[in-house]
Every structure is written in structure tokens, then in C-alpha cells.
Symmetry: C2
Amino acid sequence: MALLFTHATLLPMTAEAGAPRTFTGAVGVEENRIALVTADEAAVEAFRAAHPSLREFDCRGRLVMPGLVNTHCHAAMTLQRSYADDIALMEWLNDYIWPFEGRQTPDDVALGMTLGIAEMLLGGITSFVDMYYCEDRCVEVAEGLGIRALLGCNYFDSNIDAVMPEIGRAVAAAASGSGRVRVAVAPHSPYTVSPDNLVRGREAAARWGLPLMIHLAETVDEARIVEERYGCSPVEHLDRLGMLSPRTIAAHCIHLSDRDIATLVARGVTVSHNPQSNMKISSGVAPIERLRRAGACVTLGTDGPCSNNDLDLWEELRTAVFLQKSATGDPCALPAAEALRMVTVDGARAMGCAEGELGVLREGALADLVVVDLQKPHLQPVHDVVSNLVYCGKASDVETVVVDGRVVVDHGRIVGLDLGQLYREAAAAAARLAGA
Amino acid sequence: MALLFTHATLLPMTAEAGAPRTFTGAVGVEENRIALVTADEAAVEAFRAAHPSLREFDCRGRLVMPGLVNTHCHAAMTLQRSYADDIALMEWLNDYIWPFEGRQTPDDVALGMTLGIAEMLLGGITSFVDMYYCEDRCVEVAEGLGIRALLGCNYFDSNIDAVMPEIGRAVAAAASGSGRVRVAVAPHSPYTVSPDNLVRGREAAARWGLPLMIHLAETVDEARIVEERYGCSPVEHLDRLGMLSPRTIAAHCIHLSDRDIATLVARGVTVSHNPQSNMKISSGVAPIERLRRAGACVTLGTDGPCSNNDLDLWEELRTAVFLQKSATGDPCALPAAEALRMVTVDGARAMGCAEGELGVLREGALADLVVVDLQKPHLQPVHDVVSNLVYCGKASDVETVVVDGRVVVDHGRIVGLDLGQLYREAAAAAARLAGA
């Protein structure tokens, strides 16, 4: 069914640089594409006439913008949300996370993924990049809930032989779907995967035509271990192995030399910055201003619900800005408008889309958009709607969400999912997996 | 009317140390006091029988906890929200903030205050500490909306003669009210108010029996200026002038020596930590872990909507935790449970309440409480409800709010205020004041 959003403040995110342009107008959707972006009432009337059965949304007092893109998470870890916080790393892994994960079945992962996708859609995330196990099982979950996804099959040295066939199954499942869900190869990190197994991943990605994703330069320990083993930085190590390209998403990228930054830029790698996770785990502060000035493609991710503990990209957006201003000592660092590009236009690059295909309101682009209700005390008055969105916008301000031309959140309600039932199942699984 | 909240997860915040205790039970309210906190169904039945006309809230799937206390803000600056962001300090003040404030009338301040209080109440803030001008005018605003407030009459050297009578008027207005609104004397800072005028403020506070509040050790420049003028740190300077006592609230407290910390602890000063403002303005990171270990009373504030840009204490709560973990490099720093005390039990001290009088669910305490809807994807499953609240809880999860025994937010709707009309008035005032 065609969709028409009228009388909205439109934030198309199509301007090349400077403050994003806004205007009052309408957006029309046909099939899975944006077919109309206009301030011209006659064009709106013509769209109505051409689509007699369209569904119209009166967006007075509302803003329509591209859906948000979350470029790094482990969404199924919702089942471990708040399971083990404020604990030192090795105790956290040994006594909590690994035993919990050891008990998880593919059905548990699918359940956790369902809860994670529900949270993301309700908060205006229309595309996400995931990295976990049982991603073959999660293809159908993402397909069913209507979100756009890039699912990275995560492996370590210990389980690479089991994961390689999983990638094949995931690719097959995605190929028989809508095209919204794609698969990636996801070696865990330069210090937990051997050079041989990193190359196996790269070769598998090449064979299937898939992107790569990896945790990179996240901790001081990682940099030390890689230096000891290979005599270079984590970035150099991956570069020597041919792992870095425009089809690589590197999460975290905290401990970087100027040379590392130049390498990431030269290879066209997409960086996924995860500020709240980095703060909570005390990993350090990623040099986002240095990366941006060098010309890197920097995007934003929530990381998993164990280390954050939610999947709220609005909070990451302003935390990214706050953290750069704080860490650089420059209150002008990372302006709001630039940060907004990270979760829309630049995020779309991480999803493997050509420029103008996703992350913008433009005729011909994929129809992923959100309606934000501006009639909230924290969003009034409106001197600058972009500042209001970045500094004050909340997941709960998202009213309606469209992915691929389909309404997936309708006035605050997720379509086709019984949340009460989901919470009961999640509670039962969480209790069992915690060994309670 | 008596109130009864049943079948709730109760978070009383009455435990002295360690993880806050929760249990399933009921809270009863009589007049402006909590009259019942129990897990005993017979006690609930007796409360019902004794109050035949009570209003009952079925809180299945909900949590009831003390209302949040925001210990530093400039709430009326909602009218300047997002008016001037990502700009260097002196340009920001000279070209934007001061001309804007120069055009404001007392009615504008009352309007901005109304919008700020609406935002705070909807987000579960039941008490706030404010610092601005025209606070005499704001007494009636706070009274009318039902929030609990400590309104600090802010002065500089340039306007102290005008503000002193304002304090008198504010005290008179508060004295004729409900008792929920109190007044404080608020010299701006050690570097913008002369020693003589600081002492005048201290003497005025003593005369009227009022607390003091002040910005303290917020920037490197402030420390430098005070050192140059008075040969000591801002904390020492205030201490020599007798400004520091258990009735002093000091906002920010970023640039502190060990000796400064010892002085703040010895004098019993309440520190208001404002992490998002400090990050956005690049002021530095307050040494909250050092303050806590030394035994300081540390609370949390949002600061004003110019420097944040909202009045959301849930975000401050987790940003405080994230920032300490990041700045100290210790993922165990400032655990969630301790942070929750800052916005409840410790915040109540800033409001001048005796221990157990506010910020807790305890029979006999003032009836300031919030109902949090846990039936949200980001709050499920519940391994640890305190972690969920601190790391994932949002202003929009607050469903119902009671202040002084009166329902002021009822299932997400603020009582007795036409928000649409308020937004129209705020928009008109904002446009006029911006000189647009």
C-alpha cells in the first residue's frame, strides 16, 4: 500500500555539508521506495490522485527523517541485559557471560534477537549491523519483523569450523528472502583469531561476496598482545592480511596512531563508534575528531545490551557528541549536524548501500523513515530542530517507523508482535540461562 | 484523597549500604505522607478499609520508587533550548545568551519555568534545585504545578542590589504557600561575585534562615582567576569567607585538589554533579569517585537546557556512571546502586530534608514517588532491576508521579496543564526573544 506523510517538518539529510536543511512538506512511498519528497501541495494532490487506496499520515507537529542505522550490536544479548554489571572483566566473562552463553540454544538466540529488534524498531532504528552466533537462525527473525539487517557470523579460532557452514546457511536463508537481510563474515578480533583464520574469513567473504566486520583496537591489552605477537598495531596487522577495504566495518577503533588512522582512511574502512559501551567498559575514548578530520567514514553503534545496556541510538548520538567535546576540551567538536549524518547517511554506507540509496529522504531511495513527535516538553520550543533532535530527542519520541515501504511501528505500537508474550518468554529464558 | 499502589515491585531505597532491596508489595499515601509500605496483604486490606474513598493504582509489572531529585538547574532556560549550540564560550555568551536574557520579562521566565517543570515532572523529577533570576515570580509557578522546589535567587556583583529585595519577596511568597517551595541565596560563583558580595549573600541567608548555592570549581579559568586574585583555590576562597556548610549546595566541583575535597567533606557541603553539561561545555570531569571515597555527599543535576539540552535525570544518572568508569579506567567505578542513591536519598539532603524524610519509601516520609512501567522492551528481562533502571530507564518509562501526596502526572499526562497551549506560548516567546 502506498503511504503519504503530509504537513511534516522534513529533514531529508541530502545536503552535502553544513547544517541539514529542513522544510515543511510531504513524503510519498510506493512499494519499497520513496516516490515523492515535496513542499508543493499540487504534487501531493497528484500523488493522492494516483494512489486512491494510499494510507495518509497527518504529520502536523511531527518531523519525518531517515531511519537510524545502528552499525554495531549483538542484539540477541538482550537476554543478558543487566545480568552482570559493575564487575571486573575476567570475572564478568568467566563467571557470568560465558557460562550463560554456553547454555543458550539457537531458539534462545532467536528470542533474544526478537526482543532486541523490537526495542530497536520502537526507537527508530530501521537498519542494524549485528555480530553474534546462530545468525543463520536470525535471518528469519529479522525478515519476520521487517527490519533491515546485516548479520555478521562471529567466529573465534575455537569455533571457526562450525561457523563456516553457518555462514553458508545464513547466505542461503537471506537469498530466499526479501533482500532486506544480508550476511557478513565476522572474525571476532585481531587478538582472538589467528592470522590463518582471519585469512580464511576474508576468503570466505570473497567467495560469497560478503562484507567483513571485526572488533578493532578496542583495548590497551589488545594493542599490547598484537604488538607482542606480530610486532605491529592491530590496524597494521589486519592491513597486512588484506582484511581492510570499503567492505570492512571495524567496531570501536579506540587505540589508533596517526598512521593507523591514515590506513583506515586509505582502505575506506567504515568505523563504528560505540561511545556508551566504551565508557561503561572503560576501554578509552575513540579519536572520532581525528578520524573525521582525516576523512574516515565514522558511524555509530549501540554495542550489545550487556555493555550499554540498551539499544538506544539516540543516546549514543548525543553521548558521541558529549564525549568528543569532553575528551578534546573543545566545545565546538563534533557538532550536532555532523553527528546526525553518522546515524543516517554514513550509517547507510555501512549497510553496503550506494550513496543516496539509504539514509536520506530522496525520491528513488529505499523507504526507511521515521516520524518523530515534536509535541513533547523536551523538544519545545524549536530554535534549531537538529540540535533538539541530537541533544534532546529520545527513542520514545519515535511515533511511526517505515522500513522498505512497510509500516513496522504504527503510532508507538510494533506491528505483528505480542510484546506481553515476548516478555514472558524472555523472562523464562533469562531465568533458565542464568541458572537461577 | 488517600492513594494506594498495589502489586508493585517496590524499591524503597531505605537500605543503608549495598544493593538496594526490592520486594513486591504496596504503598499507601495519606495526606502528604507515606502511610504504608508493606508486603502484607492483610495490611493492604486494612488500609483499604480505613480509607473507603481512596484511589487505587494496580501496579502489576510496574516499579514504585522515590521521586528523583535534580539538585542543579536553570529550568526557565527551556526558552533558550538549542538556541546556540556548538559555539565557543565568549561568542555564545556575548552574541546569544546575554542579549536573549536581556529581552526576557518576568512573564517569560515564568513561562520557561512552567515548561521546565512540566518536562521534569513527566520524567519523574519530584524535587528540583533551581538557580536563576525572577525566582520570586517562580514560587507561584512551582506551587501551581505541584512540584517540590528549592529556588535559588542568583546574583552577580552587577545586580546584587536588585536581587536582595527579590529574595525577600520570594521568601514571603513561599511562606504563604504549601511549604513545598523554599528559597535559597545563590551568588553566581567565586569569580563573578566579589568577596564582599559573597559575604552579603551569606549574611542574607543567615538572616532569613536560607541555604546557599553556588557554581564552584567549574572551569580551569575560574581556578586561575581565583588563584590570581586571592592566592588560593575557589574552594579555599569560599571556605575563608565562611560560605561552606551543610546548608551549601556547590554545583560542578570539577577542578579540586585533595585538600579541596577534604574541605568540602569537613564542611558537609552537598556537591551537585552535572555530567552531561560538563561534557558538552568541555569543562572537565568531576572527580566523583574521589569525592565519594572521601565521604562527600554527591548528588546529580541536569544543569540548564542551554547546556545539556534537556532536564532528564535518567540520562544524567547513567552518564555519571559511564563518565566515572571512563575517566578512572575502572569498570567497577560508581556502581549503579550507588548512583541511584545520588538521585534519591542524597538528593533529599540537598533539599534540606532530615534523613528518612524524603527520597525514600518509608512510613512517615513525604509522599514523593514515581511509578515506572517496566513493560518496555528495553527494561526486559529483569535480571537486576536496579541495573535496568540505571542503565536503561528513561524519562518516558515514568507513568505516574506523586508529589506531597498529590498525583501530578497521571498515566503519562500532566495534571492541570494544557501542553499544546504551553508550546504555542513558548514558541511565540522564543521567537520574540531570539529577535527573529
